[in-house]
């Protein structure tokens, strides 16, 4: 077996292709929304952003608004798709569980004072809490943004009280969204979490990493889907099989099964 094959078989699917698309649709449109949202403040000209190559448009509030709208359409559609799709499938792995707050404190303490981490499910307890927090912030941004958009297009004389609420919720949640983004980047910069990063690009994490840090997830998968191809190298001894046989196996159903099963069982 070549080193390339060894590397390929030591993988486990953590995210389906659909989830990767959802994540990047929300993340990239969210970044565009942050930038164009900032440009709706009169800062681009004042702070010479318009002098940067290719950034002259940033000083035109209506051009920024059009881009903000376009990104919002993607952001809102992807977020609502995410909610309804995973609700109907009964996916609960990302939802906070009882005791997550306490567990998060001990995980963070373990990182800073070099203590022992508890065994994890598919997601870390602080990831589940962060997911709930981000969902709350995104919900606030979407609701207030939809109201502001409705006002812009149809009802400029909407009740001032409603407009004031929508505007300030949007502004405050914008700040929270930026903070959440910064926290998200900080979390993936932390060394123990780095092996997780590849899965948001490729869908897979290293099997040895998953076994050592997420044994509860591996256990749950065995209980739920013992015969499926989610574990691309289910056990170490199977690595003795020929790589071509495994390739066929994976193509026959491994990836497709992986899209459905591991996230669902959480």
């Amino acid at each position: 077996m070549s080193r390339h094959d060894e590397h390929r078989v030591n993988l486990i699917r953590r995210h389906s292709t659909l989830e990767i698309v959802e994540h990047w649709a929300i993340a990239l449109s969210g970044l565009v929304l942050i930038a164009t949202g900032l440009f709706e403040l009169p800062i681009a000209t004042r702070y010479y952003i318009t002098d940067l190559p290719g950034m002259a448009w940033a000083g035109d509030f209506i051009v920024s608004l059009k881009i903000h709208y376009a990104a919002s359409a993607v952001f809102v559609a992807a977020s609502l798709f995410h909610v309804i799709y995973h609700c109907l499938h009964g996916h609960t792995a990302m939802l906070p569980k009882k005791g997550d707050l306490k567990a998060s404190v001990s995980v963070i303490m373990a990182f800073f004072v070099r203590g022992e981490e508890p065994p994890f499910h598919k997601y870390l307890p602080e990831q589940r809490l962060a997911y709930a927090g981000m969902a709350f912030v995104i919900a606030g941004l979407i609701l207030s943004g939809l109201l502001k958009t409705y006002m812009n297009v149809y009802a400029p004389d909407m009740s001032i009280t409603l407009v004031m609420w929508a505007t300030w919720v949007h502004n405050i949640f914008f700040v929270l969204f930026v903070l959440a983004f910064v926290a998200h980047m900080a979390a993936i910069a932390i060394k123990p979490n780095r092996p997780l990063v590849r899965s948001i690009f490729t869908g897979h994490v290293r099997l040895d990493y998953a076994r050592s840090r997420h044994p509860l997830w591996i256990e749950e998968m065995h209980l739920e889907q013992p015969a499926q191809g989610d574990l691309q190298n289910k056990e170490g001894e199977e690595a003795q099989q020929s790589s071509s046989a495994r390739e066929e196996d994976r193509e026959a159903g491994g990836d497709e099964a992986g899209e459905r099963a591991p996230d669902d069982t959480g």
Binding site: L18, E40, L41, P42, R46, Y47, Y48, F61, I62, L65, K66, Y69, A70, S72, A73, V74, F75, V76, A77, A78, S79, L80, F81, H82, V83, I84, Y85, L88, H89, I142, G145, L146, T149, Y150, M151, N152, V153, Y154, A155, P156, D157, I160, V163, M164, A166, T167, W168, N171, R260
Partner: protein, 334 residues
């Protein structure tokens, strides 16, 4: 492989159907905010009647407006904080007497124009102030909701919460709002880094409109050059007067419609060409509503929840069907 392809195609078809259905549903959305101003107040300014009050130092409407709004602008702090990094303080506190342009202390002025038309020389006196647009970008785009279009038809800046970024002036086709630096809420936050004062303009005497009274400028006019009424009354009267004098209208269609209609015996293209224009002295050229180009994008945002939810439901429905298809295929093989 064939089944995989079928499955893929069928999934794509489902998503396509979902998108089509959502956008088709969106066709039922109303087209614009054209009727938003239906119950609001409008004003008609008849340029065949206004003579600019030649017998007075200050025209009656301008004087009445200044008296009503004299206490609006607080005294700016000294020194007014420098604006980082570009500078650009705007201070009219030592020019409070100016009545020949719009300033933070003067919301209405008489714009003079000498025009040749129909073989005759016309000296026109044009009361200029905020047009109070039907769908004003200055209000809807204010990042702090400090500027708002009220049901009365008045577009009102709340200078107490305005940061003076002058975005409203930038997006106003006539650059009406005027900034006074050194006043307002920005002084309590980060005066050199964010904001630069507060914006001021005509509020169509919103407080008086709420009480069923006219704006003071209209009541003060000795020649009844300003008429106040409902939108439909003013539109009808404007058209009638224009027809009678063989005249022209301005403000009915400008920027998507406004609550201020000028009727003139002289074409506005000639008036605009004759006006002295510059800061605080707006043009009278035709104006397209720039925000109209963003409305279709806004409508797509309003439809996005329907698209997302429909696509999600269809994707789940498609995924749930797949095992059944797979089983049938296996049964057939057996």
């Amino acid at each position: 492989m064939g089944d995989d392809m079928k499955r893929g195609l069928s999934r794509r078809a489902l998503l396509k159907t979902a998108m089509t259905a959502a956008f088709a549903a969106g066709l039922g959305l109303p087209g614009s905010a054209a009727n938003a101003a239906a119950g609001s107040v409008a004003t008609l300014i008849d340029l065949s009647r206004c003579d600019g009050c030649p017998d007075r130092d200050i025209p009656a409407c301008v004087q009445a407006c200044r008296e009503k709004n004299s206490g609006n602008v607080p005294e700016p702090i000294r020194p007014i904080p420098e604006v980082f990094p570009r500078g650009g303080i705007e201070d009219f506190s030592d020019k409070k007497h100016l009545t020949t342009r719009l300033t933070p202390y003067n919301y209405l002025f008489i714009h003079k124009a000498e025009v040749e038309h129909g073989g005759k020389r016309w000296t026109l006196s044009i009361p200029r102030r905020c047009m109070h647009c039907d769908n004003p970008a200055c209000a809807t785009l204010c990042p702090f909701a400090a500027n708002h279009k009220h049901r009365t038809g008045a577009v009102v800046i709340d200078s107490e919460i305005c940061f003076g970024g002058a975005k409203c002036r930038t997006v106003c086709p006539w650059s009406i709002p005027q900034r006074q630096s050194g006043v307002g809420v920005y002084l309590h936050i980060a005066p050199t880094l964010a904001g630069n004062g507060a914006m001021f303009k005509c509020d169509l005497c919103h407080d008086r409109l709420l009480k069923g009274e006219n704006p003071v400028c209209a009541d003060a006019c000795p020649r009844d050059a300003m008429l106040v009424g409902s939108r439909s009354e003013i539109s009808a009267e404007a058209r009638k007067r224009a027809a009678e004098m063989g005249g022209f209208l301005y403000g009915m269609e400008e920027n998507g419609g406004t609550a201020t209609v000028y009727v003139s015996p002289v074409p506005f293209t000639k008036i605009d060409a004759a006006l002295e224009k510059g800061p605080g002295r707006p043009h009278m050229a035709p104006v397209q509503r720039r925000m109209a180009g963003a409305d279709s994008w806004g409508k797509s945002v309003l439809l996005a929840p329907v698209v997302g939810l429909t696509a999600g439901i269809l994707a789940v429905a498609g995924a749930l069907k797949e095992p059944a298809v797979g089983r049938k295929e296996e049964d057939r093989k057996k």
